[in-house]
Amino acid sequence: MTSLQIDFTGFTQWIGQTLSDYLSPGWALTVELILAAVALIVMIVVLVILMIYAERKIAGFMQLRLGPMRVGWCGSVQAIADVLKLLLKECVTPFKADKFLFALAPFIVLTTSFLALVPFSYSPGLQLWDINIGVLYVTAVSSISVIGVMMAGWASNNKYSLLGAMRSGAQIVSYELSVGMSLIAVIAMSGSLSILEIINSQADGWWIYKGHIPAIISFMIFIIASTAELNRAPFDLAEAEQELTAGFHTEYSGMQFAMFFLSEYTNMLIASMMAATVFFGGWQPLYLPGLDGFNAIMDYIPGFIWFFGKVFFVVFLIMWFRWTFPRIRIDQLLRLEWKYLLPISIVNVLIAATVAVFEWYL
């Protein structure tokens, strides 16, 4: 079936072959890595700019207004104009800040979010690193970013920043658990931690459909917990505007602020990619049993369109939450995690294990 899909394996192999023809193996690897990194960064920046524009338009329409309309057609270059503005602005460091940590924090946050992008498979044959513990790697790496956030809050020497960072710390540490637990439910059913194998296991149906009850519950928990981990409304306590002005990045300006902003959107992308990979079958097309004609048409849609379509569906969900809900309070946030999400997800892992053992798949 996948023969109709555009397969990037040949393309990547051709690059690798050409490079090793002209260069020594060490240099070939270096050039390959640099090419991959550049490609990744370009992809992320383009996607993030798209997301910013989408977010502003979605927010606008949800709020009975038009969103950006001035720069370009229907404000389409607004995000690029904003990026340019941020690039040109001065990065102000507070007088009594810890200058080294203050400058280092945005890099740590941004680097960790880029690191987490590595094991994802964007399309058949398009994957930077097929590591056999892909899911574990992503959850592990993305939780490092809390160190950058704490660093930013501490180094700013601002009480609002410090409060924001502390909230963020408590929040990310506790919600990591639910994210992990909800992923484990699906991993138990697919039987592998490798991203590629999880995708391949969904060739005959996505886990959200095949895994029925445990998969749906774990998808809901995953969406809630990852929204919390992303510090986005209704869990945006770390930067709660009405309480802490801007939380941990109150003192950041210019490009340093832009890095926090970029990493926030990249993290959102990562969470959505994870959801798309684990629950919606990655780049696997939608098949409906018994409808061969329909399935054949689905095959003609390239894999990366499937993948990013699913990613943007999840991104839209997260944006939808943000522009609808009020913010939760800090003690309620922790209570939600420890009293609701965690017990439910533990029970859910048990159900998933039972389903996996008896193979009660749909």
């Binding site: 979605i58 329409f61 949800m62 709020q63 009975l64 207004r65 038009l66 309309m69 939808w320 939450f321 522009w323 609808t324 809900f325 609701y340």
Partner: protein, 162 residues
């Protein structure tokens, strides 16, 4: 058991209430006809609606002969709470030989005006009105001090200006 049912019921009710809100924002998003905002500078000629009574700038009314109705009685100057209006009066002798008070300068400081409308209210001659011309911002606040009778200066003042 009851507790367990309540627990599940509370989760369901919570989800339901969140779902209602999400439905509301989603339905707004897919109904662009409900949009409230106006594209202001572009709609100046089309949909922009400024009610006729809107108070934006003080204006002296002319009578049918093209002369100002203002008699320089300074009632508006006294009625103004912010010293926005300054009237300079001069005495001229009419051809008949009577001395007459004539409006020399009607100085209106838009920057101090709070648009309370008490000048218009106090005028016994119907010589004042508030116009709709609201785009009055300037980079220099001195430009907000306006001479309202610029086109109707008395004869001797006209010569001074030239």
């Amino acid at each position: 058991m009851n507790k367990c049912i309540n627990y599940i019921y509370s989760i369901g009710a919570a989800m339901g209430s969140l779902g209602k809100g999400m439905f509301r924002t989603f339905s707004s998003m897919v109904h662009p006809a409900r949009i409230l905002t106006q594209q202001y500078p572009e709609n100046r000629e089309t949909t922009l609606y400024i009610p006729e009574r809107f108070e934006a700038e003080l204006h002296l009314i002319e009578d049918e002969n093209g002369e100002l109705k203002c008699t320089a009685c300074t009632l508006c100057q006294t009625a103004c709470p912010n010293d926005t209006i300054q009237i300079k009066v001069e005495k001229v002798t009419t051809p008949e030989g009577k001395s007459k008070r004539v409006l020399s300068e009607y100085i209106y400081d838009l920057g101090r005006c709070t648009f309370c409308g008490q000048c218009v209210d106090s005028c016994n001659f119907g010589a004042l009105e508030m116009t709709n011309h609201f785009e009055n911002s300037e980079y220099d606040k001195r430009k907000l001090v306006k001479l309202l009778n610029e086109r109707h200066l008395p004869a001797n003042r006209k010569e001074e200006q030239i």
